[in-house]
């Protein structure tokens, strides 16, 4: 199978998934309790005139299908509408926020993989040692600790006590932005990184038990060459799980964004769901779904390239 055909198939599948997802999210918001009139007017007396004006403005009295198709028609033309909560076009609301969340997730991803994979490999190679037990226990703590709690501890230690990093906010762009995002990214990376450690350790251990590693060693190959051999074998499960784990970074960012007062997509999504601000929720979920879809596609592509067995299986199909 050529790479082009693979990409084409994945793009088509992604497009279909986005349409289905947009329908599901729209339907869920439609069915969820609460209504827009009260979100806009607050908990106070609502005159029938004011209610009628708002219902007419947002076509709330149209049947569900009509509402959904109106949204879909506009979205297919690239118009994601106007936020009900702010009256601002959705595209303008996403401006800037995408950058914050993507940068946050990217730094967290690099940290998680950059630290997690080497630690996992090391733990596997020193199986049963004190070092292995320490790494494994630390990763259990990392997986269990909620991101915002880790965030608060990091804030206290690195921002308040040591004063190395700023407490909150996103800074003024460039390096200042990176400096501001370092702590939140670390908070986000802890849980994910711990997961990467565990997955890597398991994958490498499995490879170490394989006969080919024993044979390679008995043939007197150098440590580095043996390492390359079994790392290649372990790469597929590691990359696959890392892809999934990275996709979850965006979801986890909601809590971290709240703790560090960052204007990212997570906070926007949470507030928009509460408000029933359909245009914003749709745009953000589709954007996240696209990100996840592309990440998994890249991961699969990599898995294809990394493992000849998978490559052969794909061709045989």
């Amino acid at each position: 199978m050529s790479v082009l055909a693979f990409v084409g198939r994945r793009v088509a599948a992604l497009a279909a998934m986005l349409v289905v997802l947009s329908f599901l999210v729209f339907a869920l918001l439609y069915l969820a309790p609460g209504d827009l009139v009260h979100s806009l007017l607050g908990a106070r007396a609502v005159t029938p005139q004011a209610e009628a004006a708002i219902r007419a403005q947002y076509h709330l009295d149209d049947p569900f299908w009509v509402q959904y198709l109106r949204w879909l028609g506009a979205a297919l033309h690239g118009d994601f509408g106007t936020s009900v909560r702010t009256g601002t076009p959705v595209a303008q609301m996403l401006e800037g926020r995408v950058g914050v969340t993507v940068t946050l997730a990217a730094i967290a991803g690099v940290l998680a993989v950059g630290v997690g994979v080497p630690l996992g490999v090391r733990a596997a190679r020193r199986r049963g040692s004190f070092e292995d037990r320490a790494i494994t226990s630390a990763s259990v703590v990392g997986v269990s600790a909620p991101g915002f709690a880790v965030g608060l501890v990091l804030l206290y230690v690195f921002a308040v006590m040591l004063g190395w990093f700023p407490l909150y906010g996103v800074g003024d762009g460039g390096l200042d932005r990176l400096w501001h995002l370092a702590l939140p990214a670390a908070a986000l990376a802890v849980g994910v990184g711990a997961l990467v450690v565990k997955v890597t350790r398991t994958a490498v251990l499995r490879e170490l038990d394989q006969d080919y590693v024993t044979f390679a060693r008995s043939r007197g190959l150098s440590g580095a060459r043996v390492l390359r051999l079994y790392l290649r074998g372990a790469a597929v499960p590691i990359v696959t799980s890392v892809g999934l784990v990275l996709a979850s970074l965006v979801g986890g960012s909601i809590l971290v964004e709240t703790t560090f007062a960052l204007p990212g997509l997570g906070v926007l999504l949470a507030d928009s769901i509460t408000f029933k601000d359909v245009p914003v929720v749709q745009a953000v979920t589709l954007l996240l779904a696209t990100f996840i879809g592309v990440t998994t596609a890249v991961v699969d592509l990599f898995a294809n390239l990394a493992d000849p067995r998978v490559r052969r299986a794909a061709v045989a199909r």
Binding site: G87, Q92, P263
Partner: protein, 533 residues
């Protein structure tokens, strides 16, 4: 699907509060109860004043978002025809004087030297345009609420505007103020491309400051408006940082990053006060928090049941134990701080004192329930909005009391939008009314005691008293009518007032507020904030 904000709050409540209060308690910057206030110089300013807000703004247009915090931002940048002072009384703003020539006619004389912050003059056209914009339910759903039906709005002179109402109104005086329903902007600016109040377009007003940068959910920066017609502001720039997480806000305050922090949680106020040079001030936030009992839902159709519930609520313990006295026991519906606007605090306190009182008495409550159709008790549910963590704790305390007389209450947290949409749906016997009016004249009793009240309660006398209060032109007559209507509803056990809330604000060592009150941040407050030397 768990609601993200519910999940967030639950997690934060469960883990973060103890973690950080514990950490913060041993913060290096905190000293035990250091309440030293340096001497203040009323003329001295600062280069930058930083305010930590306990929430976030996603637009600066008050017409679009009536959140209290949006009002706070607008108080710096935009003006109405009138403004308010720290007691809620009207003060000149764009109008230098105003008079009511008859029950429905108001005439405003505008100052002739007012300019928007871009240097263009404020014209009568701009004012009339803004009035029509702010009372349009489609463009300004939030402010339109405060505008009664008008017969006409006209320029009756070069600097004079006359507003004629369709019917007399008790509260119209406050409507064209920046504490309620009018934020005068330039017609030309509003109609130029872009969304008013967005990060890209910002807002344009004639207030002491102009917005220079707005990053939704992050911060908004104001700079001194050099075209301001009033006294030049003391602080060169003011920055609002949105820090929704109370723990992060606390750490930032302790570190000295914030000069003012809003929304200090009641259970953390001691930790905040321990920061060196800090002043932590609690003041009525005008909110009413109480139970609503729908007499159309069995078994609450039985007056004995309603009375039993009212007697079983231990308001004093709730205020002292859960709210740490940063609230007061509600004796009526509209808070005294609001009633006082127009009649003074003494008259307001006397009015509240005249209301019928229900003492906490579990034995009496049990006896009352025994006389009802459900002598052995029953079960019911009570939902509270996730926007107020205190209500959750208070709900559990009430459920505990009611359990003792045989009423099992299932307490549930729901998203605030769900809670408000369910108000008055005729299906909930017991529900919370949490009314937080941003505006001095927005009285919860206007709604709760009207014919369209959310309790589904029919009482012609009460409804006609409330209708009379809405059009009363004498402030004392309005208060009297409201008190009589409140008495009727309380005697029938329709409402069980629980507490009138406080808002707690922390001021750092660099500043000290003068005339601090419930209305402080709705006034020209930077003028009433002194830099300490």
């Amino acid at each position: 699907m768990p609601h993200p904000s519910l999940l967030r709050r639950a997690l934060v409540a469960a883990v973060a509060v103890p973690v950080v209060v514990g950490l913060a308690a041993c913060a290096p910057s905190s000293k035990p109860q250091a309440t030293t206030t340096a001497s203040a110089d009323p003329t001295k300013g600062l280069d930058q004043l930083t305010v930590g807000l306990n929430g976030s703004l996603s637009t600066l247009d008050v017409g679009q978002s009536g959140l209290l915090l949006t009002y706070y931002a607008a108080a710096l940048t935009e003006q109405g025809l009138v403004g308010i002072d720290s007691t809620g009384k009207l003060t000149p703003a764009l109008a230098t004087s105003w008079k009511q020539t008859d029950d429905t006619t108001w005439v405003y004389e505008l100052r002739d030297d007012a300019s928007f912050s871009d240097g263009t003059p404020v014209t009568t056209d701009d004012v009339i345009f803004s009035i029509n914009l702010d009372r349009d339910a489609k463009k300004s759903p939030s402010t339109a609420y405060y505008w009664p039906a008008l017969k006409s709005v006209k320029a009756t002179g070069d600097h004079e505007i006359t507003i004629k109402l369709a019917a007399p109104s008790a509260t119209f005086g406050w409507t064209p103020s920046s504490a309620a329903g009018l934020f005068v902007t330039s017609k030309k600016f509003y109609e130029s491309s872009g969304t008013y109040g967005s990060a890209q377009k910002l807002v344009l007003g004639s207030g002491p400051y102009r917005v220079t940068e707005f990053a939704p959910d992050s911060h908004v920066t104001f700079e001194r408006n050099t075209h301001y017609a009033g006294t030049a502001p003391k602080y060169k720039t003011v920055r609002f940082d949105f820090i929704p997480d109370a723990n992060t806000r606390l750490l930032a305050f302790q570190q000295g990053s914030l000069d003012i922090a809003l929304g200090v949680p009641v259970d953390q106020s001691k930790t905040w006060a321990a920061t060196q040079g800090a002043q932590v001030k609690a003041v009525s936030d005008l909110s009413y928090q109480g139970l609503t009992i729908d007499p159309g839902v069995a078994p609450f159709d039985d007056a004995h049941v309603r009375r039993a519930v009212a007697q079983a609520v231990d308001k004093q313990s709730i205020v002292t134990g859960i709210l740490k006295d940063d609230a007061s026991v509600a004796l009526g519906i509209t808070a005294p701080a609001q009633l006082a606007v127009g009649v003074g605090q003494d008259a307001a306190d006397a009015a509240v004192d005249s209301l019928p009182k229900t003492a906490f008495d579990l034995d009496a409550a049990k006896a009352e329930l025994a006389k009802s159709s459900k002598p052995d008790g029953f079960s019911t549910t009570l939902t509270y909005p996730d926007s107020d963590a205190n209500l959750g704790k208070v709900s559990l305390a009430i459920a505990e009391s009611l359990k003792k007389i045989g009423i099992a209450v299932d307490v549930k947290e729901v998203p605030a939008s769900t809670w408000s949409a369910d108000l008055g749906n005729g299906k909930q016997g017991l529900s919370w009314m949490s009314y937080i009016p941003p505006v001095p004249t927005d009285w919860p009793s206007d709604w709760l005691l009207s014919a369209q009240n959310p309790a589904g309660y029919t009482n012609k006398e009460m409804a006609s008293l409330t209708a009379a209060a809405a059009t009363a032109t004498d402030p004392q007559a309005r208060v009297d009518d409201v008190m009589r209507a409140t008495s009727l509803a309380l005697e029938d056990g329709i409402y069980v007032p629980v507490y009138w809330g406080d808002s707690i604000t922390a001021f750092g060592s660099r500043v000290t507020p003068r005339t601090y009150s419930s209305y402080y941040f709705l006034t020209d407050w930077t003028a009433a904030l002194d830099a300490t030397s």
